[in-house]
Symmetry: C2
Subunit: 138 residues, 2 copies
DNA sequence: TTTACTGCAAACCGTTTGCAGTTCC
DNA sequence: GGAACTGCAAACGGTTTGCAGTAAA
């Protein structure tokens, strides 16, 4: 995570308290927060951080490829800091929880005949189903 | 397509001019219109159709499983009438065109070990890349 | 000191909603 | 005739933007 801050500084970023806090909040595995959740958690560490700054920072992190934007439903985008290893998502159809699943070997290979001339640069796979808690009626 | 209208009537739908027109607009392969586009096209056939009715109708068609809601970007949802055969999507990263690709045999099989206890009910695969036109700079 | 960044507030876009009026069956 | 549907307009949630002020380098 401090890696992230270093990388950002190397790219000419000013390391402001706000950016530090956003980076902090996005630290971890299986983190898929909405911008609003990031704002709420960042606000616990730095009370006066504004929504606009959170949106700016998230947008910049996405542009730099440090964070992945995930839209598994029509609602708010979620921000996934696990950009360094290829993975897909498992989404609970009931509680909307998201889990990362490692990318498999055969993923993202579309037969030549089905490519319609597209030059494919990436694949996203979203598995949908009930998570263990929702299966047991929790 | 008239099949669709029959199916809807069988389910107790009132066949209003508005619904007929929305069904008409959604007819075809590789159709991935936004609600607004549906509204615009429907408006050419039935000038006074309202946005609310288009949204209502689209929502109902989705609930009935006749149309699939596709969110390939964070912007507007797109409505895909090709709900009868399983397929995935090829999305141009530049012009955002969408093409359907047939679902392959091995799609949607996630190794038991990677399921985290989820009961998987469906998979969506989105391939991203440049479409032929955008590759040639068109 | 300079210029990137922040916070505010207003605007924005896609979508949903409440309700009065209309129309299908 | 009655319930289902439509259209309007207002409200909504998530996101973006313009701009004056602040702070990192």
């Amino acid at each position: 995570m401090s890696d992230l801050l270093e990388r950002l500084r190397d790219r000419g970023w000013r390391l402001t308290a706000q950016r530090r806090v956003v980076a902090e909040v996005l630290n971890g595995e299986h983190v898929h927060l909405t911008a609003d959740e990031v704002h709420a958690r960042a606000g616990r560490l730095l009370p006066e951080i504004s929504r606009a700054t959170v949106y700016n920072t998230l947008g910049e992190l996405v542009a730099l490829g440090e964070v992945i934007e995930v839209t598994t439903d029509g609602r708010a985008k979620r921000y996934d800091p696990n950009a360094r290893k290829a993975h897909h998502h498992l989404v609970c159809t009931r509680c909307l929880t998201i889990r990362d699943v490692p990318a498999g070997a055969g993923d993202g290979t579309l037969p030549e005949d089905d490519r319609f001339g597209f030059a494919i640069s990436g694949v996203e796979i979203t598995y949908r189903g009930l998570c263990p808690d929702c299966q047991s009626g929790a």
